[in-house]
Symmetry: C2
Subunit: 304 residues, 2 copies
DNA sequence: GCATTTGATAGAGATTAACTATCATGACCG
DNA sequence: CGGTCATGATAGTTAATCTCTATCAAATGC
């Protein structure tokens, strides 16, 4: 059991090292920036606590006892470890340095991260982001357990015990296969025009599913059996003519290139999801996350 | 440079470890045998000193920050090293334990050590004697430099700054080759009878040389050119008929067996050398050395 | 709701470590 | 020899630190 109180202090060990190196109490005291009697007293206290004499104080000078010689190595190891602790702590002083566990939902990750990761690296080179991709509920739970420092979410409502900062609105576009009735024209399409369409949605648990449903809640549509587990898959399904879907704008750049897919703007009120950066209330990472949020906002992936 | 003052204490690190393990300030405080506010205060002080937050204190419980997680390993290493220092110190608490650097002069070593080493091991099993064989002057210098803890010497005079305890008197015998005039008879021989003999002596620097010369100082004798560098060699020279010599009694058991050597007792006043155990005045080892001396005296290698 | 538990805070008290001044001893040097 | 310098130890006081009890605000749990 190593949990007993330690009968000595780091300062005493520093004194021992200083004495061993200078072989002179006064010089050692000067190096430690204390008066010589203080050093004498602390050494005496340490020797009493350990029951071991480190030095013989003789007119001839200061001599290490065999025990002192052996223990000096331990003393140095303790001090080295302590010193490294202090140095390593320095690296964590900067809130924008060190490991940073960030979550992101799957319907944003493939569109946001390719640009966000390099941007973060450039802006905060000492930051070491560790990305975790999972659904909202899982990320929120991990945030609250302290297993994540922050998460990129698309919020419907305020989340209890989480602070958030809005990064912007991500408008929904209508995705239809080439040849579909809506594939032609340029005017914004009204949601109600989708009445009777076959709708492709994300799998349960993906917030995008609920948001899309909410956007169309007053529109009678048929939901297809198939539920996508990833947005690229969903887009692929639309492109192959199975149905239509709502696609967030941030996916535009990456998904619009498909030959058999047509994306149409929606008319006011344009449905959207609110992209936020969330963290535990009172999290140590709050300062850093606010700066990260600012950076992400400036990337203009979405309307602000 | 690692010599800067360390801005934290071992106790604070123990608090951190206790909190990290219990995830509960009160339990941690109890384990550390302090009141909870003390622990809170010390943790706050540590975090302030390092500029790093170890824990998030949340209604949900105590959560390690990433920095805390990383630094906790350092904390544990410091505490482990400190703990091992304390444990190792225990082994040195017993004055009769641990390494013990002992000197012995060459004219005693081969006769004393074969019996003394096992006896020491049996009496003080935790003692780890490290024997050094050298001449008196060298041993005394090493004692004074703190490179030896004690030394077995044959003293002529008090040695400055050294404390000694007498182990006994080692009487001198006359060694002559078989066939020599003194080889016959059993009566003690008077020193003066050696007038005109060819005397074999140890090399310069060996105290035995000076002691033998002192014993014969009023007797006119011829010193042979050859000076022995070891006592067994000297005995061998005598046995081969080159001359006579004075041999300390402690060599009797080992050297008397030679067929061509005869040992005769000397008449009163029998010359002798005083065998002592010596150490630095104020040496940490004094207590142990006195016990070692007692053991050696009881071995009755010599007259007490 | 109400009792319980969480960690933080305030202020007093006790402990610890620091300081200055001085001492005893031995080394060094003329 | 005798004075000067250096050593580390000691005494007594002051300053800093740590810990204590008592209490608070907030959240949990039945």
């Amino acid at each position: 059991m190593t949990g007993n109180p330690l009968p000595f202090s780091l300062r005493q060990l520093q004194y021992v090292r200083a004495i061993a190196e200078t072989r002179n109490f006064r010089q050692a005291a000067e190096r430690c920036a204390v008066a010589q009697p203080s050093l004498s007293a602390q050494l005496a206290a340490l020797e009493a606590a350990l029951g071991v004499r480190f030095f013989e104080r003789d007119r001839r000078g200061v001599i290490l006892t065999p025990a002192g010689e052996a223990l000096l190595q331990r003393v140095n190891r303790v001090l080295t470890e302590a010193s490294e602790l202090r140095e390593e702590a320095k690296h964590f002083r900067d809130p924008l340095a060190g490991p940073f566990r960030l979550g992101v939902i799957p319907t944003m990750a493939p569109y946001l991260l390719p640009k966000a990761v390099p941007a973060l690296r450039e802006a905060f080179p000492k930051l070491v982001p560790q990305w975790v991709e999972d659904r909202t509920a899982t990320l929120v739970a991990q945030l609250q357990q302290g297993r994540l420092d922050g998460a990129l979410l698309a919020l419907e409502a305020e989340l209890q015990d989480l602070e958030t900062t809005t990064l912007g609105r991500d408008h929904f576009l209508l995705a239809v296969p080439k040849g579909h009735a809506f594939a032609k024209g340029r005017k914004p399409i009204r949601i109600h025009a989708l009445e009777g369409e076959r709708m492709l949605l994300m799998d349960d648990g993906h917030c995008l599913r609920h948001q899309a449903l909410a956007a169309c809640r007053e529109v009678g549509m048929e939901e297809l059996e198939f539920r996508a587990t990833s947005l690229p898959t969903l887009v692929q399904m639309v492109a192959s003519g199975i149905g239509v879907s709502l696609l967030p704008e941030m996916a535009l750049a990456m998904e619009a290139g498909r030959a058999s897919l047509v994306l149409r703007r929606l008319a006011d009120p344009v449905p959207y999801r609110t992209v936020v950066l969330a963290w535990r209330r009172g999290s140590h990472a709050a300062v850093a996350l606010k700066k990260i949020a600012k950076l992400l906002r400036n990337m203009r992936h979405f309307v602000q």
